[in-house]
Symmetry: D2
Subunit: 329 residues, 4 copies
């Protein structure tokens, strides 16, 4: 598969590396708003820098990986779909539901393989947790607890453009909840507060939040988010059921343990999402290629992006209005 | 201190054992609705069986430990207060707020040392967690996560008289939340479902529930309850703050670890609350005696019982009405 | 069972407490070289202080617990045996083999229940490890690794009278090895050094030592000892076999875990043997009473004391002579 | 750096992959006894297959990675040294000391960068353990405990050509001991037995062994080896010192934890050395390139291979003769 990459920033570099290391994929071209960034990345991987416009007209290109800034996602996605190219789009498709629905409409008219970058679904530990549930290891799933904390908060100026904590950060956890609960979510309730950085509050956002979800069959789920954990990237999930519990725990660089007068100490969790999910990004590319070759759906698709955004919007509304929100099936 | 014990059932026996092993306390008398139960327990500890009525008139008795059936608590508490005896009362004082408030009124007119049996406050691990917070080890407390699961559900017939999951089970977690958050709780939101035993649902109760609390300063708290965990008594608390996180983990009988073809396995958590909190019951007696001697308040008092019951009532109302409940300060 | 206690020092107090808390045992009398110590302890447990001589003539006394200073053990043991009393003797019976063999000769002529204070055999975790082996959970046992470190070294003046590291400290580990290997030990090899306190070396002893044992069937065992571990009392055993491995790990006061910028920290191991083996001392009394009632052998008897001492002597000889020592079956 | 690889077998493939992923290294050529194996591997990495003889004459080649069968190592090493190429040689240089010494003599006459494939020195966890010691985190190192078990024994026919457990398997642990103890080893004592596969015993080898090392300053070290651990590749090191203890623990694929009626279970250790040390092989290439560029010694060199082999020989002799062996400084 020959992939063109749009976006040579931080996340684009991660994808370029993952593409390079996959034996069946070639980095065919790199485009970026900043041509020098595209050139540097292209050079590193023996690829070529192009204008984004060139990509859609190039018949030798099978797929487009959209890793540009969020406001451009939906346009590029539609152009890629119309030109018949497979798509791996970083989340979100757009920050609002209407624009997202329009993009999905284009996709329905131009059906191509379209994967959405919910990287956590590809993480080996979360995959193993999902399998444990699916294989019935914990019996019937009854409750889900998701704790997700970033190492450090974004600059307050970022907050305004980000869509807020629920759309920008919790959307990953809402997607995990959807994936693991595996049935329609019936209601959502959210609370939030600003206890880390007052500037985030002044920008109209929260930095700490908790959400409760319920499903039709009575499964319950709690999500807890914080924009700052001094000890690193805190990413845990606990699935509890009639026959037991399975927990995804934090990962650290090594398993070294020191015992001294102050106790028994192991390393902090990995600090950054790029380290924690390095393997997930490689497996995401692999799932994308395989889905394209086998003409099956990817592990996370455009519809998943829409559904997670619906939940994020409802969560924000719940918090603003101080009430539980019922969701249509 | 000479203590008379009212109630020679399961929890009464635990208290009798704890009294016996305390060097400064004597089990002066035992009363029970069933005189033969009182006699058996009195004999075991070289005490004497009496009628409950005799206790309040006996000047040689310093304190009454009320471990009889819930509906009798408030009456015995009032009689003990009126006769000037120190009181250690099993929770709850009563299942409704009005009766509880009446009892507190009597206490205010007859001030005696009055401790309430929130045993978890005396658990060494939770005590150490509380200290870690108080000493500032995690900086400013921001979020609290409490997971509390019983090993097996009560018989459905018990459910009716129990006051329901929120008053009977979650009340312990609500008390822990109050104790650890250490500031007024502003709102409460609850969801619940019946996924373990339909008979519990038919009796009008839930067997699985989640609650969200907020405080005035923006602290957030989640509680998750289940009436059944196949692996034992699951009692965990996680306090997260600006400088770190402290977690109380489950305890098991030994630390033995087996490694074989199926993985690396340690023991299940302790199965029963009497095992898990054995030390807490002994320390509860010690706190009671010390509070009485030093004329200070006990670690948990009658007012804490009232406040936890208020939260339990509000949680149930929130679940029934599907909305967040605001609490008066 | 009515037990007389000889020795009201540190370890005597532990036994007095264990006797007091056992429902079937009475502390009938307490004797000590220092009468005031005997009186104080007797008073604490509603017993009476006596001369040691009085004990052997007293027909109301069923058993003698010998917790006096080591040089007196063998004499008291023989007198107790001759007067037909059951015996629980702190280890060692004597510091040399000849004296120990004499005592065993007296026991063979006056057969009474005679337990030896190898407290670790009664520890719940080591008991569970032994059961895991016996029940075949690890298949055929192949290797054993014992790590045993004291929190702090004894004063150098103690070292001279103690019999040295092998007789005083490693003897416990040699007994554990015998108990767990459960077949004759064929050879022993020891090395030792003095790296903690030069005064220990000047007193002719080592403070750090390692021993290797082999059995006739080819099982191998390593023991590692240190007189000082800054983090507490380090007591671990690993049994490895054809179907897996079972490990006894250190125990700590609580399971509290703190995560901060310096890592994920749990408590130090318990500091002192009295805390670590508190339950073992209670279970030791129970095994003694039960063995006496059921006329069966105790979990550890006088012969075990002799065998462990033989190994300790051989270990010391191996270290002094720099060679492997073969043991007679 | 342009590296030619000699040996396209299992370990050769690992190195080819590591070379490919290093940005500063090119796989210039591949040679193998079996030309088709060389061709297949060369093709996979866009390299070319050659005869081994061609390599030494090729001026465009900077370095030779020797991953051929053990009996060919010393010859290739000498030819590479004589042709002035840097060398990364899989261990051992040879199975006997005399041949090894000859090769070192050639190296001393033709000084080139020469690294030896003691892969464990490059493992991040062991590197961190070494750093903890060097930085004084445990104070003065006093004892070292190394446990090293293979998942499954080699075929008995392999055993004959392997040089035996001490030269083939324990040599890695002896190198780790040398590296971590960091001072001359004064004595060695070994025991061994055949308890896993009688065919190994018939081939004259053991499958289970324990070794004790002492150093001049009094440091003590124990090594325990088994050719089979049903639960995977067991690779642990514990360094104990005056200020604490640091332990390298086994690694597993994920940190997933399942809790059910049979206990709390985490994954088995990684099964195979290629998985466990995947990162070490990449870092080994990096250290080799850097040493070559900076004209410094590699982390493990030819002399380390000789010293470890000396210890392995002495260990085997100790076991055969049943006595402690003293080593010259």
């Amino acid at each position: 598969m020959r992939i063109a990459l749009i976006g040579a920033g931080r996340i684009g570099k991660v994808h370029a590396q993952a593409i390079h290391s996959h034996p069946e994929v070639t980095l065919a071209a790199v485009a970026d708003f900043d041509p020098s960034a595209a050139q540097a990345l292209a050079k590193q991987y023996n690829s070529r820098a192009v204008e984004a416009d060139d990509i859609f007209a190039d018949d030798t290109i099978d797929a487009v990986l959209i890793a540009s800034s969020t406001p451009t996602h939906a346009d590029y996605l539609e152009r890629a779909a119309r030109s018949g190219k497979a798509i791996l789009c970083e989340k979100p498709i757009a920050l609002d539901l209407a624009r997202t629905r329009d993009a999905l409409q284009v996709l329905s008219e131009h059906p191509v393989t379209c994967a959405l970058g919910f990287n956590r679904r590809h993480d080996p530990q979360f995959t193993a947790l999902k399998e444990a549930i699916t294989e019935g290891r914990i019996g019937a799933l009854e409750t889900l607890t998701i704790i997700s904390r970033d190492p450090s908060p974004p600059p307050a100026e970022y907050v305004g453009a980000s869509g807020g904590l629920f759309r920008d950060m919790m959307i990953h956890d809402l997607d995990m909840a959807r994936w693991l609960l595996d049935e329609p979510i019936e209601s959502i309730f959210a609370v939030g507060s600003c206890v880390i950085d007052p500037a985030i509050g002044e920008a109209g956002d929260v930095d700490t939040a908790m959400v409760t979800l319920t499903t039709a069959s009575g499964k319950l789920c709690q999500i807890s988010n914080s924009r700052r954990a001094c000890y690193g990237y805190d990413q845990r999930i606990e699935a509890f059921g009639s026959d037991g519990m399975v927990q995804a725990q934090n990962e650290s660089d090594t398993r070294l343990r020191f015992t001294g007068t102050s106790g028994q100490t192991e390393e902090k969790p990995k600090w950054f999402f790029l380290e924690r999910y390095a393997q997930a990004y490689r497996l995401e590319i692999d799932d994308f290629v395989t889905a394209w070759k086998e003409r099956r759906g990817p592990l996370a698709g455009a519809q998943d992006g829409l559904e997670a955004l619906r939940l994020a919007e409802a969560a924000e509304r719940s918090m603003r209005e101080g009430r539980k929100i019922l969701l249509d099936a």
